[in-house]
Symmetry: C2
Subunit: 422 residues, 2 copies
């Protein structure tokens, strides 16, 4: 199946909005084994829209458009498709009901302007995709051997609609499909991951297996090829289990959850509390965890002790310790983690001190030198890292590695307490 993506909207052509939908859909379709050969963007112009739709139908089996489903007269994506596919628009009663209910929720007691009713009109015979996150429903047209998927432009409306409606439909239409799981790894390089899985990679058939590297982690993609109706999970499971068994605690996630959310959830599930003392990351580490709704359940405090005086003042770190070893040192990272924990009474103390760059490096401690410490009731562990990137990426890598060190420490404590591992 050859697919084509068309993003509709003059604001995209003007560069006012960054199009992230096309990347999301490209990735989703690629992971499903559907080849995306063309992506394009067009404005809200009837003539150019028709040309683009017609060209897409002539060369692709599946065309997905996002955008142009709003209530205003320049939103004409659905109307253009209906005309092109020879399907008259009808007023869909269920859509109208949802539209009016949604309007009443946000504007109680007010009458809905008639302009809005247009969003409840659908091409005859299309499969309607409801939109719980906005006013514009989407639809799927399946006609004359071509599939057209029409979805709204806002990503938080489009993504759930694709996931819940378009994706299952596409799976049902394809004889052969791919289903992929991503195993996400931290603390082990790509080549070590590949070496650990070498015989699985060499002997792969179905599922296939491959390693990838991203800016923050290493990923193993496990992909099952299956016929319609076949159970992908059953094909994936034995390989996934073996990969997880071999990589052990280096795996922080199977799926899409971000590391900071994984760690936040682990703390909450265990009823554990945390205090943070950071220097070069400057609040980024704490802020990443605070992004998790419910952070107050575990976070006591985050101290950005940027100056040496602040380290002494809030963390009771001896000026002489800093003088002897330097603010960026094993000893200071250790003291920051331990004191952060004891001063606040938290279960865990996490510390970062380093040289983010571009200035401040020395021969002995070049830019990218970072010490990360984690303290708990059993003691303190400090790791030394040497990153070699720009200020922003050095800080990001320090945040990632600090979160991962804490994650590993929590897992180690689970083992000590005899909590069974997943």
């Amino acid at each position: 199946m050859v697919a084509e993506l068309i993003s509709v909207g003059t604001e995209l052509l003007m560069g006012q909005i960054l199009d992230t939908n096309a990347q999301y859909l490209s990735r989703q379709l690629s992971d499903m084994g559907i080849r995306v050969l063309y992506k394009s963007t067009i404005g809200d112009n009837p003539q150019r829209m028709k040309e683009a739709f017609s060209q897409a139908l002539s060369r692709s089996d599946l065309v997905i458009t996002t955008g142009g489903l709003g209530p205003t007269p320049d939103d004409i994506t659905k109307e253009m498709w209906a005309e092109m596919m020879g399907l008259p628009l009808y007023e869909d009663a269920a859509c109208m009901e949802r539209l009016e209910a949604r309007f009443q929720t946000f504007h109680p007691g007010k009458p809905m302007a008639s302009i809005n009713r247009k969003q409840a009109f659908m091409p005859q015979g299309a499969i309607v995709m409801p939109n719980p996150n906005g006013t514009a429903p989407g639809c799927i047209i399946d006609k004359d051997g071509k599939i057209v998927v029409i979805m709204p432009g806002p990503p938080f409306e489009m993504k759930p609609m694709f996931e819940n409606h378009a994706k299952p439909f596409l799976y049902s239409k394809c004889d052969d499909m791919l289903v992929s799981h991503f195993v996400r790894i931290l603390g082990m390089g790509e080549s070590d991951v590949a070496a650990t899985l070498q015989d699985l990679i060499d002997g792969q058939a179905n599922p296939t297996i491959a390693t990838y590297i991203s800016t923050t982690d290493v990923q193993v993609r496990i992909t099952a090829k299956c016929k319609r109706g076949e159970d992908a999970q059953a094909i994936l499971e034995p390989m996934e289990k073996e990969v997880l068994r071999r990589l052990g605690d280096y795996v922080y996630e199977v799926g899409e959850e971000a590391l900071e959310d994984v760690v936040a959830r682990m703390l909450i599930e265990r009823g554990a509390t945390l205090s943070i003392a950071e220097s070069c990351t400057g609040g980024w580490l704490t802020s990443a965890l605070v992004a998790y709704s419910g952070a107050s359940r575990f976070l006591q405090e985050g101290l950005v002790t940027y100056s040496n005086a602040a380290k002494s003042r809030h963390l009771q770190i001896d000026a002489s310790l800093i003088e002897t070893h330097g603010a960026v040192s094993y000893e200071v990272a250790q003291a920051m983690a331990v004191h952060s924990r004891t001063i606040s009474g938290a279960d865990y103390g996490l510390s970062v001190t380093g040289i983010a760059g571009p200035t401040g490096g020395t021969d002995e401690k070049p830019v990218g030198t970072v010490y990360i410490g984690v303290a708990d009731e059993h003691g303190v562990q400090v790791e030394h890292f040497k990153f070699s990137s720009d200020r922003s990426r050095n800080r990001q890598r320090a945040v990632t590695n600090a979160l991962n060190l804490l994650r590993l420490r929590i897992l180690a404590n689970d083992k000590l307490q005899g909590i069974p591992q997943k």
Copy 2:
């Protein structure tokens, strides 16, 4: 002049990379008055590339491609364009010299692999655009009434190349061009900005003037239309001066510098120091300022006093104050700013306390309630905000407003000290 953008790269079609080049170029061209009517993405496939290039030439005056200039055999953008435009490739001596010099810098003493030499070949008659940030030079083909601009894919290579070479070339080719300046405003809503400038907007001719709203600020675009060789600055200046005069301190920037960098620079220029106490922003505020290289010159400390105990421990805030008024209150924001300043001995103390959501709101203090305080030697000022968005955007708006409150306080102190305003 009608323009078309083509991003080349199979990794873009697969969704492995988010295409930010197309947005950047769309915006640049729109600001220059060049209409972008088509954007598309194609893989590294000769047949589909030829089709796309040929279609683009048939309907557009200017075609800009990014990507596909690497050293490997699947990088064929330049080769395809040369063939399509009937221009043989030649080995460009200056390009080869730069390529070899660059290789020697990164791999001293090693011979350059012959595969790399391909990057120094250029279409006959093309204008070469050197690439100080990478190995692949770009070029401009100006032939038969069509302009083709060929640039590498990595944004940090493409953007300076466009800015320094392609943009001036395009200006030189157009009889009428637009040159825009953006005046960026905080603390005043779009409608108030428009009202303040109403007579200028009503009476606009050349330059034109319009207001925009972004996620974080309000912008006034001033655009001069000028003939080739005309001085755009001379057309823009009187209007820009008048806009700046009317909006005064609400303007934080004319151009592209981020608010946190503006504030960091202001502090450094004045030799002033800062301490921060934040709650709902959770380190984001401090982290934004630490992103500025040289933050150690002004930042004393940032305290993420998330729990009430932390507020008492590090900021010496009376438990009774929190009990009486609540952690999210005018009084606590005030105390956080004042104590943050006095405890650290900084010139400024900046505080944020609020309810980011989605939970934790009450009828009296709903989600989005935020108090921001700034203290200096003259006293303390607290502002009350009511945002109404999701957790992430409420936190972002709190960060933006805190930075802006500090900026305005610094400007007020400049005036007190008789420092002339810009």
